[in-house]
């Protein structure tokens, strides 16, 4: 049994924003797979849950001139089923495939996954690596900001009062390939021990190549390292540079030792291996390693 709370399910965005603004203890309920877990742990609660699942305009995946626009209420299984995402943003598609289990993917939403801002959140590394933006709608209207300005800390995102996450914006680029890989303790439903996304713009010509990498579950938020990205971008990547990158990465991260899933040493070693595997799979790193 949950502690008591109130429940409303507005079918317009205006109504939802109004409820959110006028109730101090209000929380937005999307898929519920994170929020309801959290509420179950609470000892007191007099909250108002605003279930926004009826707001159709926040669902679905669309293409605009510059972005692939994913509604915050789009469920993870819809991302898994989307050929547009599979072809244009493989890392996010793969992260969706690895997310929780089928019953969770059927309800969990990408917006909920972002807003809960868990360090190992499946959607975190692809969105950081591709430099996605978020669109927020509030009493003052609409605004967008880069994902790394929105996603601030464990469980903390940058909302102004009364704001709702409405869309995730993926910059379009027809000359981009990407991968996501993770390690988990068991084959089946589990959270990631570590997760890695690698995004490569202009993969064919070495000198035009731009590579970005984001790591999950090694820091409080998805982590990028510009130094490493610089070594990778515009340069031939071989056995030696890969070795250098692995050392650099492990020197620069300090995963917490209290993790239930793996020791810091293990995580440090594994992220390098996952980056290497991603690069190999995309044909960026050739030959025997």
């Amino acid at each position: 049994m949950f502690k008591k709370f109130d429940y409303k399910n507005p079918d317009s965005l205006d109504e939802a924003i109004d409820l959110l603004q006028n109730n101090e203890e209000a929380e937005i309920l999307a898929g519920g797979t994170d929020l309801l877990l959290k509420l179950r742990e609470e000892t007191t609660s007099n909250k108002l849950l605003i279930d926004i699942k009826g707001i159709e305009q926040l669902k679905g995946i669309k293409e605009t001139e510059n972005y692939i626009k994913i509604g915050a209420l789009t469920t993870i299984n819809k991302i898994e089923d989307s050929n547009l995402i599979k072809n244009h943003f493989t890392a996010l598609w793969k992260a969706a495939c690895e997310f929780g289990c089928l019953e969770i993917r059927n309800k969990a939403t990408i917006g909920g996954n972002v807003v809960h801002a868990s360090p190992g959140a499946e959607s975190g590394t692809p969105l950081f690596a591709v430099e996605a933006r978020v669109e927020l709608i509030g009493p003052e209207g609409k605004k967008t900001m880069p994902i790394n300005e929105f996603w601030q800390d464990v469980g903390t995102v940058n909302f102004a009062e009364g704001e709702i996450l409405s869309h995730i914006l993926i910059p379009k680029n027809n000359n981009r390939i990407s991968r996501y890989k993770r390690i988990s303790r068991v084959h089946g439903m589990d959270l990631a021990v570590v997760g890695v996304s690698v995004v490569v713009n202009n993969p064919e010509k070495i000198e035009e190549r731009e590579i970005s990498i984001a790591l999950g579950a090694v820091a409080r938020t998805p982590y990028r390292n510009q130094e490493v990205e610089k070594i990778l971008s515009g340069n031939r990547i071989d056995e030696n540079s890969m070795k250098k990158i692995k050392v650099k990465i492990s020197e620069n991260i300090s995963p917490r030792s209290s993790s239930l899933r793996a020791s810091p040493e293990y995580k440090k070693e594994m992220v390098g291996n996952l980056i290497e595997k991603c690069l190999q799979e995309m044909g960026i790193l050739k030959g025997e390693i």
Binding site: K4, D6, Y7, T33, L36, G100, C101, L102, E103, G188
Partner: protein
């Protein structure tokens, strides 16, 4: 704070209008209001799959769903598949392969398999894996369950 909300719901093809507290889970509503005790409370945390029901054609965790979220939806529990031929085949395969010991996880597994067969004509091994990887069984060690599912998938096709 409202102490009751009204839910209009179709459960196992029967229409209900129910008054429930807003903080009631779908799991609690099905078990306590409708006496459908085939829906099991295992971990109550979304991890074990024992509380799985089919909501508008898709398997979901009823412990991580509020009764309010299920307003205007169609729910199928294991009780609703009593006269379903395919479910009979699944149950028989589970019996033949000894895929049941204590039976607590079985309704969740069987519903997940039923939903898989409904959405995928010829499920592969990988499809079966994906459909069941959120279900825990502490008795069988899974081998017999997977054998049973493979058998029934062959039969249905």
């Amino acid at each position: 704070m409202s102490s009751k909300i009204e839910i209009n719901i179709v459960v196992n093809e029967k229409k209900y209008t129910l008054q429930v507290p807003p903080w009631m889970s779908l799991l609690e509503m099905l078990r306590e209001k409708l006496n459908l005790t085939g829906v099991k409370e295992g971990c109550n945390n979304g991890e074990c799959g024992a509380c799985t029901v089919i909501m508008d054609g898709k398997p979901v965790r009823s412990c991580l769903t509020l009764a309010g979220e299920a307003d205007n939806s169609k729910i199928t529990t294991i009780e609703g598949l009593e006269d379903d031929e395919i479910t009979d085949k699944i149950k028989n395969a589970f019996i033949e392969e000894d895929a049941v010991q204590c039976g607590f996880c079985s309704p969740g597994f069987i519903l997940a398999v039923r939903a898989l067969i409904a959405r995928t004509e010829e499920p592969t091994k990988e499809d079966i894996d994906k459909a069941l990887d959120g279900h825990l069984c502490r008795c069988t060690g899974y081998e017999s369950i997977f054998k049973a599912v493979e058998k029934v998938v062959e039969k249905v096709n």
